[in-house]
Amino acid sequence: MQMALVIDPGKCTGCKQCELACSYVKEGEFNPAKSRIRVFDFHQDARFVPYTCTQCDDAWCQKACPVDAITTNEWGVKEVHDDLCVGCKVCTIACPFGTINFNASTGKVMKCDECGGDPACVKACPTEAIVYMDVEQAGFDKMRAWAAKTDAAAGTATAH
């Protein structure tokens, strides 16, 4: 069983509890600027889109890292090791989704690591717009398709 964050923007109300939970759990402060999940707010349309790393199989950030600081854990999650990251930021320009970002306070990069299997954003979401579930189930395919589209356009797609 492979667990993943599955996001349904249709259920998001834009409360941004996920951003606060993420930044508090990962960085120790309530600061949306340091959240690894971001809610894009199209309020005039009343549309909100939570957005974070999809843990690509063949991850752009991981391939671009020059010092082997991004590894894949047993759940397929790409993790940044702060002790190895030198802060060169190549991963931040290599990721075509912009979901690995530089943290100026630490001089390292940060990305979603699914909180080691217990994601804070999921617990904080009051409307189940973000759920943590088995990837075989519906919903995940859509995210994969999005990722695959970017891969294919770059001409570097491989079979997953």
């Binding site: 894009f40 889109v49 391939k63 060169c88 320009i93 290599a94 589209k149 970017t150 770059a154």
Partner: protein
């Protein structure tokens, strides 16, 4: 099947790992000419800054990585390649036979024709040996002259400042990072460095270096001279192709390859800084000596070598750099495309700048100063050629809404 990889940099190591993944039984040999385990040149500035030790630069952190994956790493320089007999002669006199060969020999630092560059205390900043030599002469308070404020020079600049040296930067062109950023960004970067106490002399050439009583004397085109204990030369790099002379393998600026990273010789491929491969933005074949391209090439070349035909449709030129804490980046056709449109947001006081270049309603290039959040989206938009429709009009007046435009377009949300 014996896969031989010449070069132990990122392209070579990534190719070896991918070959192992796709061909469990093949023999894989990496041949590199430096004494260290395969390491990353990109990490050298962080070694100079004292953030990491030499081990922190290694491309693979697991000590047993190569042995555990059955990858033989030889430390010897390649002499000549003989594609007819599928053999390589090494400088120790031995020969290595290959079935498939990857040329991943990288690039070397250019030594411009300036008198005195061979004096003690004048060093490139490219190899681990260079780094060790620089560390000998770059202590707190030392006079250091940095020749070149291009991408590499500007990264080393930060490391030298962190070491507490008295630094003067000399750049012959009219601005810093002239091949990565425009005049606005280059000027902003220079002002930033000067605010931090670093002298930056643009439009100035080093005419010669001579020994003096206290160390070195650096003569400038302005007629003035600078004292130095150390001169670091960062004047660009050139592909390592000299050893291919007489091999019959076609070269130009680098090794010429086709859309599958194959060279003109059968069963010989090229990847990374040595390969002259397709640039996605221009459609032309050119050397893009950057880490992400080396990684892409290494993987694609390996797939082709392992028999999984995989096209290389082109790489995107992109760079990111921090100069005393100011982060700059550029992507693709950052100078714009013919018939295209341009959007700019500039806040001089805050050291923030964003320039977007469009081809119709598609993003073709971008550059950013002081803006890092979700910046990778610029790559995503350029390489997917996503049509931004009405969001392009929004970006023309508010380029900083780039990430929003991407997410909205992907979700089918129209701008209001």
């Amino acid at each position: 099947m014996h896969h031989v990889i010449l070069g132990a940099g990122p392209a070579g190591v990534i190719a070896a790992d991918n070959l192992r993944k796709h061909d469990a039984n093949a023999n894989i040999t990496i041949i590199g000419d430096e004494d260290e385990p395969p390491y990353s040149r990109m990490a050298i500035p962080y070694l100079l800054a004292g953030q990491i030790g030499e081990e922190g630069t290694y491309l693979r952190q697991d000590k047993g990585h190569y042995k555990n994956h059955g990858i033989d790493v030889k430390r010897v320089r390649a002499g000549a390649v003989d594609p007819k007999n599928k053999s390589i002669t090494l400088e120790d006199g031995s020969d290595v036979a290959y079935d498939r060969l990857l040329l991943a020999t990288g690039a070397s630092a250019i030594r411009p024709p300036v008198e005195g560059l061979d004096l003690p205390g004048v060093h490139n900043c490219w190899t681990m040996a260079d780094a060790r030599a620089i560390l000998e002469r770059a202590d707190k308070g030392d006079d250091v002259v940095l020749m070149g404020a291009g991408f590499i020079g500007s990264i080393i600049l930060e490391a030298l400042v962190k070491r507490g040296v008295k630094l003067v930067v000399v750049e012959m062109e009219d601005r810093m990072v002239p091949r990565m950023m425009d005049e606005t960004a280059g000027a902003m970067l220079k002002r930033w460095c000067e605010d931090k106490g670093v002298r930056v002399l643009t439009g100035t050439q080093i005419k010669g270096i001579a020994e003096s009583r206290d160390g070195l004397d650096v003569a400038l085109s302005s007629g003035k001279s600078l004292p130095a204990r150390l001169v670091v030369v960062a004047a660009g790099v050139a592909s390592n192709i000299g050893f291919l002379k007489g091999s019959g393998i076609d070269t130009d600026a680098g090794v010429k390859v086709d859309g599958f990273l194959r060279t003109s010789a059968p069963d010989v491929y090229a990847a990374g800084d040595v390969a002259q491969a397709r640039d996605m933005s221009t459609g032309e074949f050119s050397v893009l000596a950057i880490q992400p391209v080396a990684a892409d090439h290494g993987r694609i070349a390996a797939l082709n070598m392992a028999g999984h035909e995989t096209p290389h449709k082109g790489s995107l030129n992109m760079n990111v750099l921090a100069t005393i804490g100011l982060v700059t980046s550029s992507f693709g056709a950052w100078e714009g495309v013919k018939g295209g449109t341009s959007a700019r947001m500039c806040d001089d006081n805050a050291y923030r700048y964003l320039r977007l270049e469009f081809d119709g309603d598609r993003l073709a290039g971008a550059q950013a100063v002081g803006l890092t959040d979700h910046i990778g989206i610029a790559r995503g938009l350029i390489q997917t050629k996503l049509r931004l429709g009405r969001w392009k009009d929004i970006l023309m007046t508010s380029p900083e809404r780039l990430a929003e435009a991407y997410v909205a377009t992907s979700q089918g949300i129209a701008p209001v």
